[in-house]
Amino acid sequence: MSHEKHIAKIEKIKQDMLAAYPPKTARKRQKQFLVNQTKLEPKQEMQANVRTLPGIITQRGCTYAGCKGVVLGPTRDILNLTHGPIGCGFYSWLTRRNQTRPVDDKDDNFMPYCFSTDMQDENIIFGGEKKLRKALEEAADIFHPKAIGVFSTCPVGLIGDDVHAVSREISEKTGINVFGFSCEGYKGVSQSAGHHIANNQLFKHVIGKGKCCKEGKFKVAMLGEYNIGGDAFVLEELFDRCGITITATFSGNSTYEQFASAHLSDLTVVMCHRSINYVADMIEKKYGIPWFKVNFIGAQASAKSLRKIADYFGDAGLKARVEEVIKEEMAKVRKALEAIKPKVEGKTVMLFVGGSRAHHYQELFKEMGMKVLAAGYEFAHRDDYEGRDVLPNVKVDADSRNIEELTVEPDPKEYRPRKSEKEMKALKENGMRFKDYDGMMPEMEDGTLVIDDINHFETELIIDKYKPDMFCAGVKEKYVIQKLGMPLKQLHNYDYGGPYAGFEGAINFYRDVERMLNSRVWGHIQPPWNKGKALPAIFVDVSQ
């Protein structure tokens, strides 16, 4: 099929889909659905980070989930107190698979706990500050944590409880660093607003307060790695072997002290661009630490990222060690790929998830020889689709305006450029890019589909039209898709598998995907008596 015909065919799918919507819904959805054409000028624009239409069965969650669940959830020694009715605290209790590794039995670990003010109707009517104050006092008295985070749920903002004032008051009284988050679920349009609120508060109340950074010659803070299924453990070990020290991870396997001392690193790298790129920016402005984007999902991407870090430090010994580690790891990766590739090559996949993963995981599928037909994010912004070049042109709408943007100045005492202007210039001239992210679309093939904030209706429709071999999304979509007789790979919780980061993770992923695609169960969906007359009498190889 010619390129034009192919584009026309997909445009037809889009038009069919839009025709089924009520007119107002169709008008809004058409801007979040495009056929990727990388060579077009001007470049294609994807509408993203806009309101979800009511009633359409979205994948999205809320600001509280992004703030308490995603960003602060993985930190073991901050006591996270949900201020609100019981549900929000309950649902975000241990459900995200963030692993953590306390150093010993004495090390604080509040992650297996759920703390809530469990607001009742009288607190809604007469205000909840008194109960919050009391709950904080009780938490301080029973647990003596280093820090407490207070997370606002929907009614808190409405009734006007001042969580920040109460936090300050308890902080002064107990000496514990207590800070509040105005992360009511209705703010913003998705989890993304919650990431921003969480990170802003960490930047204001924690980062820069620490004095002791983990020792090492090459100190890196890793942002946007949440240690789902042990990803951060793999990266810690990998970096260790190369001789690079991860001083802080935001926020997988993290501690308060790591956050507090992130300003003492010499480089910031960003994994999940969506959830945290602005923190990297703020750290650079305030403390003089440069940042760039890395990706440790995919073996090639991992190798590339490690080399970039080594090049940044420019140390010959480090570069040699990195090459050695890559060589060792790639040998294992090649062996694993040799075993699985013949069984998966040419299979097709769609990815609709997250704010970075729908992009990052394409690397892994490509390494396996699989073809990406369509992809999109659940809560990303335009720059995650089109690259950071569009940032100056991103329209700030009413929902985004409500999310605070911090103004950051160089810190009078702590600002220390890690590289001189001359060094930075030299690095850039040698091709090193800082503050870089090209987004998902330029890396996707022409003619693929890109859909933002996909909903159930669209999901069913594109599966019906394309019949992919695998779909990637989250738990809410998992069993819907599998009822259709095809595997859904969860890229939020990894189907309780993983880790998938680094070289070791890539190998795990190849094997898991191969297992899912070729599971014998898919051959058993139809009972033998429904498979046609001839079948019951002959041997049927269900793996075919």
Binding site: Y113, I142, Q482
Partner: protein
């Protein structure tokens, strides 16, 4: 240690809930609505509520949980959610074509005071509700009661909307099974069939939340109580209401609306509660207890007779929902076990009254309901004096591991094992399954932990 901050020393708490034995109303309303045929549950609030509830129900059932949300933004929180709800109704009926949209509120829409009755009427006036389609609603503020309250409110909402009394009785018995598994609802129907009693059971999540793999996805399962059945429930002879917290409010609403007599029962978990259910079913319907059911009972009693030494005096901690805890603890007592610690986050003095009676011969028993009746407190009790067995939802596994106590998963949510939605725990057969689980747990622990010289081949 996973729960390393849980100390033996118990400090009085007034405001802080730690490791709750409950969650909030809307998730219960969503589960209840899924038990009605061709119904789309709709969450009127921020989209996070719907995402959380769908995720939790999905993890528990490993099934599609289809539900929609009003996706509130800051603007709707300030100006009210009417525009969002109207647009949701239009999108849902156009795209997903349910017969019913069952709207439940959230703490957000309740706090701002959205009037869902009025908005639904407006949707109808504006032609957004196609002919023959319905909008049912329930107020489910998260800051009152618990998930069980939300379930009860939604079932009551269906009664209020559909149930009608005509001049002619239908000769049937209504059964409100409460918040139980699809397998349990299926079992209740089987028992009634064995007894040759015609019933209307609502809600009924069997064939909705336990659908087979067929290679096709359907938005609505073949199961669920139908609109016709709900209408007809007003003409039934009586309502067997199972559970004071989850079912009685709907039974009372039906009695108030259509004068249908209430038989107030526990959820039939274990021997005695099932006896009362069977007896009530027999008396209300005017039928003899079937031989087959009596023989099921006989098999249950036989297993208890043969194995009572394994149960006797074993100390048990149980947490979960009051409608389950009351008959479950009664069963444990029937077995000779000692339910010494019992907590539920769902508030209600009725729980205290009933547990006081169930546990009257166990003077060391502690039980508590409401906000600070949480798993943290129960764990502290356990730290002070150990138990032999822990029974409750998945979150108990952290206590089980730290304290080396076997755990039986029971209740909601169970998000790390399967089986609960396929094998019933209700009725005599369900009781046999519970017995099997208890014995497996206790004897597996013994086989793992006993001295080598005490290892027994035969038990």
């Amino acid at each position: 240690m996973l729960l390393r901050h849980t100390t033996k020393e118990i400090k009085e708490r007034e405001a802080l809930t730690i490791n709750p034995a409950k969650t909030c109303q809307p998730v219960g309303a969503m589960y209840a609505a899924l038990g009605f045929h061709s119904c789309m549950p709709h969450s009127h609030g921020s989209q996070g509520c719907c995402a959380y509830h769908r995720s939790m129900l999905t993890r528990h059932y490993k099934e599609p949980v289809m539900a929609t949300t009003s996706s509130f933004t800051e603007g709707s929180a300030v100006f009210g959610g009417q525009a969002n709800l109207l647009s949701a109704v239009e999108n849902i009926f156009t795209l997903y074509k349910p017969d019913i949209i069952a709207i439940h509120t959230t703490c957000l829409s309740e706090t701002i005071g959205d009037d869902v009755t009025q908005i639904s009427a407006k949707a109808t006036d504006e032609g957004k509700v196609p002919a023959g389609k319905h909008i049912v609603h329930a107020n489910t503020p998260s800051y009152i009661g618990s998930h069980v309250t939300g379930f009860a409110n939604m079932v009551k909402g269906f009664v209020n909307y559909f149930a009608a009394k005509t001049a002619k009785g239908n000769g049937k018995i209504n059964v409100i099974p409460g918040w139980v598994e699809p397998s349990d609802m299926r079992e209740v129907k089987r028992i009634c069939k064995e007894m040759k009693v015609e019933t209307i059971i609502f809600p009924d999540t069997s064939e909705v939340m336990d659908r087979p793999q067929t290679g096709t996805f359907e938005m609505y399962g073949p199961g669920g109580t139908t609109i016709d059945e709900m209408r007809s429930s007003g003409d039934s002879k009586a309502t067997l209401s199972m559970g004071h917290f989850a079912s009685l409010p709907a039974a009372e609403a039906l009695d108030a609306k259509c004068k249908v007599k209430i038989v107030d029962l526990d959820v039939p978990i274990g021997l005695s509660a099932t006896d009362r259910f069977i007896q009530a079913l027999s008396e209300t319907a005017g039928v003899e207890v079937s031989q087959s059911i009596e023989r099921e009972r006989g098999r249950l009693v036989d297993i208890i007779t043969d194995n009572e030494q394994y149960f006797y005096n074993k100390r048990v901690a149980v947490y979960g929902d009051p409608d389950n805890l009351i008959p479950f603890c009664e069963f444990l007592v029937d077995l000779g076990m000692r339910p010494v610690y019992v907590v539920t986050g769902t508030p209600g003095k009725y729980f205290d009254e009933r547990m006081g009676k169930v546990l009257k011969d166990i003077p060391e028993a502690k039980f508590k309901q409401g906000a600070q009746a949480d798993m943290f407190l129960m764990h502290q009790w356990i730290k002070n004096e150990k138990v032999d067995l822990l029974i409750g939802n998945t979150w108990g596994k952290y206590i089980a591991r730290d304290e080396n106590i076997p755990l039986i998963r029971f209740g909601f949510p169970i998000i790390d094992r399967v089986g609960h939605s396929y094998f019933p725990s209700l009725g005599y057969m369900g009781a046999i399954r519970i017995l099997e689980k208890i014995m497996d747990a206790l004897l597996d622990a013994k086989d793992r932990d006993c001295k080598e010289e005490n290892m027994e081949l035969v038990q």
